[in-house]
């Protein structure tokens, strides 16, 4: 392992005499350049870099066949850093790009997305079908890569994992996937000490350990880190080349960029500009390592990451904002910002309760507001003592039509949830969020967050129909007899529904866990030494994905659980049905099987039964019991490293996908209709206003949801009457956040996540009817679960989902 980085050109001598970026460009110019850079990125309608990466990997596989897996991965990463073509836009003030790590694949922002396209199998080679052949990449070249990928041990092992699941994934009884991305690296040490410092640490550990596996790990991580030094050097050389033809400020800027790249990330960052530059290159290499499509990596607590360097500068808020604009543009890949769900967090509290917002928090907010980009996600951490100024600043986000809105997290509650699940007290303030809403401790937590997906509504359907799918007629579950509960009549079957449902679920969960763990073992065949260096691997010497030894401080596997409101409402409806019309039991079973086609009256009866979200005590209690029971069931299962699965009650558009595979249910829902979103009432069923909806929500056992959950309010802006955005921001705090997050509670943990769309169905329909008028820029940002999207980029089905789920009667404030 090499300790000294390869540096070419000037050795990064002191730069005090040279102009800073702020002396070359004022904030307004930097802002215009950021806008131009974004527009340039949006014009990209091809992403071929990842294909080159696959070719590099294929070649490396042959060349490095004798190397241990981690070293092979690290040396392959070095090859990528050496061989990928680099470019530098005239509008860029930072070097770096994610474009080579992503394909134009993500379904939800693909206008061709169809709910019924779900295949039940996460095929790692399907991405090759997302490329349109051209002269440079003809079909033969693409097919060759695909064919090669299909021969890889990882692909074969993943197929075997799906074989364990059998037919259950085809109708979304449950689903599994190998998790890529979805982690939060901790770059604080490397920014502070430089890659050279980290290499020295690794070298020291290599000297101290005799364990061959760890020695391989340390060595491989060191090799992987050299990839970023190679990349920095190449970008520095590119800056030098471009200086020859440049003039004036651009020439100065290129000279500054070159000098900076000669110093960072090899050496410690020394101001905000150098910290951001170092960060971007580290991020770029991290994504290359998992190309294509390592979705949902998170920056973590970005304001805390960058504030020390802003102070070192010092950099004013306006100057910081200007740099952060370029920082945010980096996270947008090509025409539809394909690098989805990368998260940036601001705000929050310390372990002692002190507020941790800073000038960097507000500079990031200013940058977000000015740019209004589809990515990255903005998440704001709140606590009981969040300063009013932060809410004032958030007002413009909530109340400007077409403006991105942040995810909101409740630190006070999440600290309790995470502590309860074993996170050390000293680590709590370092939790951040990966993906949409998964809480993970920065640099310490491989939560394997999207590993498994459970569809309670489908299991309910199978239970009611004696194990047989009402959608296809295929037997996917256990009959009552097979559950040990022989029921001679429909009345008996309905009378023992809960017991049978939970027994059916337990069996399905066991199958899901087995398959999910197999998928995790499959992905372990693809080590990630670069990422591992920032996930505790520099201490442990163990790869983050290792399936035999734990390389991170914390480890788990996520289970996204669907169908809470449908199941709770269904149980209550069946109880009422049995009390009022038991003689119709056979009729109910038949009506469910035939999707109420001949029995609309019965469906109307069921629709009129009480529903979750209206503060009806028995329904709220049912929802609580279901959530408790299933959360405990899931948390009782063990992953590939013996750690608990983490119940996550979120449904990232899968409430649509999975609902498509669920037949009619006893709450009166028709076959194939969507399930409830996250822990929310099924749309249209909570019509008693926000107060009662919140009171219902407060009954749920959030203390058990350590994998996270999803909840959304569609809010009519007309309820907020303040004369300014700032005043409305304070109103939002008073009327929405305070009662939901920080209200008085006698027991349990408060809700800890929310996202909002402050708009109306009419407003969105007007936008669709006349986009040129209502979104002249072509961009109108809305939230869809944990991420922003350009509403105009979405498929019609997803657009209608967003409109329906605004569900304004459930959030009426008067």
């Amino acid at each position: 392992m090499r300790v000294q980085p390869v540096l070419s050109g000037p050795s990064g001598a002191c730069c005090e005499a040279e102009p800073s970026i702020h002396a070359i460009y004022d904030p307004e110019t930097l802002g215009r350049m950021a806008q131009a850079r974004f527009q340039e990125e949006r014009r990209l309608d091809r992403l071929d870099g990842w294909l080159r990466i696959k070719e590099i990997q294929r070649a490396a596989d042959g060349r490095l066949a004798g190397q241990p897996p981690m070293s092979r991965a690290a040396l392959t990463l070095q090859a990528m850093a050496r061989e990928l073509p680099l470019s530098l836009s005239e509008h860029a003030v930072f070097a770096g790009s994610q474009d080579d790590a992503f394909a134009r694949s993500y379904a939800l922002i693909n206008p061709a997305f169809k709910v019924d396209a779900f295949t039940g199998y996460c095929d790692p080679t399907a991405v090759f079908g997302d490329v349109t052949p051209n002269a440079e990449f003809p079909q033969a070249r693409i097919s060759a890569l695909r064919d090669y990928a299909q021969t890889l041990p990882f692909t074969r092992q993943l197929q075997a994992a799906y074989a364990l699941a059998g037919d259950c994934t085809h109708e979304a009884v449950f689903f599994i996937e190998q998790v890529t991305g979805h982690m939060i690296p901790d770059f604080r040490t490397v920014l502070r000490e430089g890659v050279v410092g980290l290499l020295e640490t690794l070298h020291g550990r290599l000297q101290e350990t005799e364990d061959p596996a760890r020695r391989e790990g340390y060595a491989a991580m060191g090799q992987a880190l050299e990839a970023v030094l190679i990349l920095a050097s190449r970008y520095a050389d590119l800056c030098r080349e471009q200086q020859a033809a440049a003039q004036g400020p651009r020439k100065q800027a290129l000279a500054l960029m070159e000098r900076t790249l000669r110093r960072v990330p090899a050496r410690p960052a020394y101001d905000l500009y150098s910290a951001i530059q170092a960060f971007l290159l580290l991020w770029q290499v991290m994504c290359l390592e998992q190309a294509p499509n390592p979705f949902a990596f998170s920056v973590g607590n970005a304001d805390r990451l960058f504030e020390p360097y802003r102070r070192l500068g010092p950099t004013s808020q306006a100057e910081s904002t200007a740099l952060f604009k370029h920082f945010l543009v980096f996270f947008n890949v090509a025409d539809r910002s394909w690098a989805i769900s990368q998260n940036v967090l601001v705000g929050g509290r310390s372990n002692r309760g002190e507020d941790l917002s800073s000038p960097s928090s507000y500079a990031l907010l200013d940058a977000y507001f000015a740019m209004n980009l589809p990515q990255p996600i903005l998440s704001v951490k709140l606590h009981r003592n969040t300063p009013p100024e932060l809410y004032r600043q958030l007002g413009r986000f909530f109340f400007t039509p077409g403006m991105l809105t942040p995810s909101l997290f409740n630190d006070d509650a999440l600290f309790q949830v995470l502590a309860r699940s074993g996170i050390a007290a000293g680590d709590l303030e370092d939790y951040a969020v990966a993906g949409c809403q998964e809480p993970l401790v920065m640099g310490k937590d491989n939560g394997n967050t999207t590993n498994s997906w459970l569809n309670l509504a489908k299991i309910l359907e199978l239970t009611l129909q004696d194990g047989v799918s009402a959608i296809t007629g295929q037997k996917l579950g256990l009959s009552h007899a097979e559950l040990g509960m022989p029921a001679r009549s429909a009345l008996e079957r309905l009378g023992t529904l809960r017991t049978a449902f939970y027994a059916q679920t337990e069996g399905m969960v066991d199958r899901m866990v087995a398959a999910a763990n197999a998928a995790s073992r499959a992905i372990a065949l693809l080590p990630v030494p670069f990422l591992s260096a920032f996930m505790g691997g520099a201490e442990t010497g163990i790869d983050t994905r290792d399936d035999r030894a734990q390389g991170t401080t914390y480890n788990g596997s996520g289970c996204l659980i669907h169908g809470l409101s449908v199941v709770a409402d269904a149980f209550v409806a069946v109880d009422q049905f049995l009390a009022e019309r038991p003689k119709d039991a056979e009729r109910l079973i038949a009506a469910l099987r035939t999707d109420f086609v001949h029995d609309e009256d019965l469906r109307q009866y069921l629709r009129a039964c009480p529903k979750f979200g209206n503060h009806v005590e028995r329904v709220d209690r049912e929802a609580r019991v279901v959530a408790q029971h299933i959360s405990r069931m899931v948390a009782g299962k063990r992953n590939y490293l013996g750690n608990p699965f983490r119940p996550d009650w979120s449904t990232p558009s899968t409430h649509l996908l999975y609902g498509h595979w669920v037949g009619a249910t006893p709450d009166g829902r028709k076959a194939r209709e969507m399930l409830g979103y996250g822990v929310d009432p099924l749309y249209g069923e909570a019509d008693s206003g926000l107060g009662f909806r919140v009171l219902s929500t407060l009954q749920l056992p959030f203390e058990l949801m350590n994998g996270g959950y999803a909840s959304h309010f569609g809010i009519d802006p007309a309820y907020f009457r303040g004369p300014t955005f700032e005043a409305k921001g304070l109103e939002f705090q008073t009327r929405i956040i305070a009662p939901l997050f920080f209200g008085q509670r006698s027991e349990g943990v408060a809700p800890f996540y929310l996202y909002v769309n402050v708009t109306t169905p009419d407003a969105l329909r007007r936008l669709l009817a006349d986009p040129a008028r209502y979104a002249p820029s072509g961009v109108y940002i809305v939230r869809i679960h944990g991420t922003f999207v350009n509403f105009l980029d979405l498929s019609p089905e997803i657009q209608q989902d967003i409109i329906q789920r605004l569900d304004l009667r459930s959030t009426a404030l008067a």
Binding site: Q604, S688, R735, Q744, A812
Partner: protein
């Protein structure tokens, strides 16, 4: 004791201070043509219908044909299968019967939402039609520390007995002329005037509300006559709010099977501001919630 309730929900600052749990009690002695809650008029409760969901199978007594309900058959029907074993989205009864204890319990469970000095408001309909139960409920709520508010048309002769149980008293004064009021709403203002005077003199938080409706009380001189009537009373502890006519409840008239006889009640631009200016000129404390 029991109360008949036709609606409940939360409201911020519009029916008392802070965020409030508002119960709308069934039954009213007035018949205002602009009423936004017509389902609350009949003390026995009203069947509300959504025709598109109503099927003939809902009623075994054949009161439903082609999505229309023959209400003449409903008056003597009990128990109503359309509301129980044949329940349907298309028909419901406005009134729910709840015990005072149940309402207090719900208030307790709703306490987390009563922020910014909020509490419980009783409105309607006209809540004083259920006088004894209302008194009991208000008393129990106050005893448990809840802030209480009562919104009333002021026509109950025993209203002042409730003053000690009501932290915020919201009094609706619809017209300054007894004859006009009687002709349009069915009840004159003699009792209302006495209650208003006693409230001005003796209640610490009186909030007078005037619904301003075109063609009813917005003619030239009406604002002045309202102001004259109020200014003659000790109003230093009272506030006055003018509420513009709206039709948010219009659709419910058809759902209740009632004719909507309201013409164009929309105010001309500037009318509300005129009322407010006239009131302020008479040193009346004008508010907007």
């Amino acid at each position: 004791m029991q109360l008949r309730v036709f609606q409940e929900g939360f409201n911020y600052a519009q029916d008392g201070p802070g965020n409030r749990l508002v119960y709308h009690l069934q039954g009213c002695n007035l018949r205002c043509p602009w009423c936004a809650n017509p389902e609350g008029l009949d003390p026995a409760g009203t069947l509300l219908v959504q025709a598109e969901w109503l099927t003939e199978a809902v009623c075994p007594h054949h009161a439903i044909r082609e999505h229309r309900l023959d209400r003449s058959r409903c008056a003597s029907c009990t128990p109503r299968p359309c509301l129980h074993e044949r329940r349907n989205q298309g028909i419901r009864c406005s009134a729910r019967v709840l015990t005072v204890a149940a309402l207090v319990d719900q208030a307790r469970r709703s306490a987390p939402l009563m922020f910014d000095g909020g509490g419980v408001t009783l409105s309607g309909g006209e809540p004083t039609l259920q006088f004894r139960a209302v008194a009991q409920l208000l008393g129990q709520l106050q005893a448990e520390g809840f802030h209480t508010a009562l919104e009333t048309n002021g026509t109950h002769p025993r209203l002042p007995e409730l003053f000690p149980l009501v932290d915020a008293l919201i009094l609706d004064v619809k017209h300054h002329d007894d004859a006009v009021l009687r002709r349009v709403t069915g009840v004159g203002d003699a009792v209302l005037r006495r209650n208003l005077a006693r409230a001005c003199a003796g209640h610490g938080d009186l909030r007078v509300r005037i619904p301003v409706v075109h063609g009813f009380n917005d003619a030239p001189g009406d604002a002045e006559r309202f102001a004259d009537a109020f200014a003659a009373l000790p109003t230093d502890r009272a506030t006055f709010e003018c509420l513009p006519f709206h039709e948010y409840g219009k659709i419910k008239w058809a759902q209740c099977g009632l004719p909507y006889r309201m013409g164009d009640g929309a105010l001309a631009a500037g009318t509300l501001e005129h009322f407010q200016a006239v009131f302020r000129a008479r040193n009346l404390r004008v508010v907007e919630t």
